[in-house]
Assembly symmetry: C2
Homo-oligomer: 411 residues x 2
């Protein structure tokens, strides 16, 4: 029997999805599960999207241009300009989800063995995309004590070697919800210039910035156009995760020419969903105002509920729809599995993402979980009751209290 490859063996299982079999089992046993483990919002996809697909009147469902439908790229460029991101349709390749954008960017910009610096905790699937490309992640640890702000730039510089080829961020951040400030991005820029690095930025949550804080894109940084690769997706923006429509954006012509070869190899992104995505750009402003208001209310409820629980701490995020909470537990992987396998309260339980999968440093995140506030407040309330009950009876509960940490932004 021929063996699977080394990559196939070392490729990490998604910490977000690896618990799925346990969840499937729990559901089959009749238990209700509150899914806070995955960034799958319950928010309705805009009608403009759905209607456009229904009315597309497609007779032959053809491939599109490998870079995406031209009119869609044109409208995307107009959309970006509203965020003061000035890109032409030629600077955009429509991808099959943000996932493909990240994967192509890794393959195009980095060689096997190259090093990529990422502040941790980071989007767990970065591990998979770097594994495919043979790239080594060098993590720089951000901490829950100061809400996962950008670590001191000196910590980044310490990680730089002759193999360092880029820095990657997610802004606002999945999994922390942290929104980078202009000052933080300017610091990254200095490093990018000094060492001539790529700066990859996953900005799929740009619509979701709260408390009137300013969203700053890496595309706003002056004079480093050739270093910037922007990664985007409509999954969260339009609550259209299943559309699998993203984008890879850069003004670096070599990067785009090379990315285009990868795009051509897989022929095209899905056609119907591109039609929907183009139409969704015409969604009324009220759509986002309503969605944003909803997320803010959920965040406020969730963070407050978490911080009320004994031994729990959760900094208040300013963007996206995630937060990371410290829990009084021995091992977040065990705890999350136990929630699905062995716990129920009124025949209900909840699914969380162990934070270990978001760290590259071994041992980090063992007493942290990521929560996605993608459920309505009623369900969130029920989920928080479940969590509180679960923490009371979990056999691996620790007595270590979070109060030993210096907490600046606990609610």
């Amino acid at each position: 029997m021929p063996k699977v490859s080394v990559k196939g063996t070392v490729m990490p299982a998604s910490p977000i999805r690896k618990l799925v079999p346990f969840a499937d089992k729990a559901k089959k046993d009749g238990r209700k599960i509150y899914h806070l483990n995955i960034g799958q919002p319950d928010i309705e996809t805009p009608e403009t999207f759905i209607d456009a697909v229904k009315n597309a009147n497609v007779k032959v469902l053809e491939y599109t241009h490998s870079a995406g439908i031209e009119s869609y790229r044109q409208k995307l460029s107009e959309y970006y300009s509203k965020y003061k991101i000035q890109v032409s349709p030629d600077d955009i390749i429509v991808t099959t989800g943000g996932s493909e954008a990240i994967q192509i960017a890794m393959l195009v910009c980095l060689n096997a063995g190259d090093e990529l610096i990422i502040p941790e905790p980071f989007y767990a699937n970065f591990n998979c995309f770097t594994c495919t490309a043979g790239v080594v992640i060098k993590p720089v640890k951000s901490t829950i004590e100061n809400g996962f702000a950008l670590p001191p730039i000196s910590e980044f510089e310490k990680q730089i070697t002759s193999k360092t080829k880029g820095i990657m961020i997610c802004n606002p951040s999945n999994p922390t919800g942290y929104l980078y400030t202009r000052e933080e991005l300017e610091q990254l820029k200095q490093l990018v210039v000094k060492y001539d690095l790529f700066l990859f930025s996953d900005e799929v949550y740009r619509e979701f910035c709260y408390d009137n804080k300013e969203f700053v894109s890496v595309m706003h940084l002056q004079g480093i156009d050739n270093n910037i690769v922007l990664l985007d997706s409509i999954s969260k923006r339009f609550s259209a995760c299943g559309a699998r429509i993203g984008a890879l954006i850069s003004k670096n012509k070599d990067v785009m020419a090379s990315a285009m070869k990868f795009a051509q190899a897989r022929l095209s992104p899905p056609t119907l969903e591109q039609i929907g995505a183009e139409a969704a750009l015409d969604s009324p402003k009220e759509y986002f105002e309503r969605v944003k208001k909803e997320y803010v209310e959920r965040r406020d409820f969730l963070v407050k509920a978490l911080n009320k629980m004994e031994g729990v701490f959760c900094p208040k995020p300013s963007g996206a729809f995630y937060c990371i909470a410290h829990l009084p537990i021995d091992d977040s992987d065990k705890f999350c599995q136990w929630l699905l396998e062995s716990f129920e309260y009124n025949n209900e339980t909840l699914m969380l993402a162990p934070a270990t999968g978001f760290y590259a440093t071994p041992g980090a995140g063992t007493n942290e979980v990521r929560l996605a506030y993608v459920l309505n407040k009623h369900d969130l309330e029920k989920a928080m009751i479940c969590l509180e009950m679960a923490l009371k009876v979990y056999p691996g509960r620790t007595t270590a209290d979070y109060r030993t940490l210096t907490i600046s932004n606990k609610e």
Copy 2:
């Protein structure tokens, strides 16, 4: 300015799509182009597909299971059993097009540096997927004289080294239209067993076998379940190229467990299109009968028209909707570009795929092109008139006649 990666540099441009900019220019100049260059049929997608998407009544366009919608995989397993391919839903991962199925299979089964034997000419994008995985293609040349039948198995065995990890075929073949016989597949099986290799088979054209010839799947080969990886797609079956729905199928549990990690990394295939694909499996039998009849008529017309032209030879294929023709030209890349840049007949021209991109052996295919008979007969007729005229005036026409070859199946 940071440099693109080695892979980004050496990744071959798709021979099918690299002429697109010249085609775009010709269209902007007002010329009509007959597209015989790409497997994009003009056949209508089944109404069952389109209607299912319209009536899906989706409120939140969610991710699906990373392996694909469960009910779809269940129906796929029933579909395969009609072809005597006995697989369970767990043996199937729904992918984003056949492209992703191939890419994941390469990454899961082969290490960088491993060798993969493929009879050439082969689907050009195999070059891209092996490039991404760092895999080396060892071609075994099939020849136009005998219609691109499987080369002698001794030629395969000659290519085997300590690095050989698999053999890949496409059946019926893109780009040749050749349909492998049971005997040929049994020969491959012997080699697979002898050297414990993976046998990858791209069978996306199984519905399109002509002249009452039998379709044999690698899944029909007994006793090598752990060696077989089947790659599939609905793009051609349901003329739904833009759906980007394929499948990776294997009974090798290790392969599937590893493939699942890659599938989870990219979250899920497109949701709406999976709904359509599931419904399309209920398309009436008449749909395929009609489509098949149409393809046979086109093939018969095309092959006859080509073989009538002076210096042209095209073996008659038994499957898929492609053929490879020998043309009296110096260089098929130049010729195909010239057709778009410099030729017109009644303000029309045609786009072909240079066969060079389908060979790994340097210099092979320089006087061959691939034609996809994906246009209606009226357009095919016009395209053949264009081609005949073009061959008369092409500056690089050669006098070398094909009649020097031993031709067994010229019409």
